[in-house]
Symmetry: C2
Subunit: 167 residues, 2 copies
Amino acid sequence: MNQRNATSLSSSLPSAAPAALDESALRLDKQLCFALYSSSLAMTKLYKPLLAKLGLTYPQYLVMLVLWEEDGVTVSALGERLFLDSGTLTPLLKRIEAQGFLRRARSAEDERQVIVSLTQAGRDLRTTAVQVPYAVACASACSLEQIQALTTELHALRSNLIAGRSD
Amino acid sequence: MNQRNATSLSSSLPSAAPAALDESALRLDKQLCFALYSSSLAMTKLYKPLLAKLGLTYPQYLVMLVLWEEDGVTVSALGERLFLDSGTLTPLLKRIEAQGFLRRARSAEDERQVIVSLTQAGRDLRTTAVQVPYAVACASACSLEQIQALTTELHALRSNLIAGRSD
DNA sequence: CTTAATTAAATTGTTTGCAATTTAATTTTG
DNA sequence: CAAAATTAAATTGCAAACAATTTAATTAAG
């Protein structure tokens, strides 16, 4: 019943205080960044055993998702789609290539570019992978509507965050 | 009370199998996982220059957030709070210690435990850090209400994802 | 045309995450 | 009490992310 401890006091302060001066602004559970970070890690852990059956890690799966949509893309195009750079993608692609799901080849028209293409094994893998999103949806205990709504919100946030950097 | 909390995110399961057979289920822009992953990375990039001024990386900042709330915690307690294990935390904490913001010391009562405590420099850093959340909120171009709502939704999702793993 | 600027990947080096194992301390059991 | 089980960190090894640099190819400028 004692209301005079620090926590109760700070959380019951008048909302007139500017956000920048709010003592509670640094509380972990208030941070959107941490909510994102910890949710993303939790999601990756949920995917891990499912993707292990396909022989893929989570970032490798993302690469395959792009290739199943659009085969024969450059490393840059892949990077624009996934918001990753060649420093991340080059070794990642080499590992997927070693797994046998894709091929990397210099473009004939422009030797600077590397074209990433699916192998037959890579195309075949899609059939198995189609079950993954369903399994994850079940495990996350969310309706498809909720998943879609949150996904849309996050796309908007991501746009704002990327715009906020260059401004 | 139910093991899975009664939030808006955990109410219903996907209705039936059709989702698994939907050809569009694998489209990158439909994936909640990728929305989370890419948003989280974008958020980290936004924080990076701000935290660099404090001499911290983003995960190091998260550790400091916990310590500013509760000083003198074990590595395990830190891990429960951040959803990270000792394999991640031990080297991370050593780097923050090298920066001079915290100390690591074996507990006298239980020599297995390591107690992590703030130094004076670590406590002082909080004053500067208080401005960070405000700067990020501005850059993300979201209202505080939107940020709070999304944070709450993500906490619920995270709970579901973690529960979904062990089930 | 040929030198300079630009572009695309790859490389290098640092910091995460995390599974699996190891080490050391504490508890539990027999 | 002593061996076994458990627990807490640390260690090891691998796979991302990413900044910064390098290499090689293409394009632009003089």
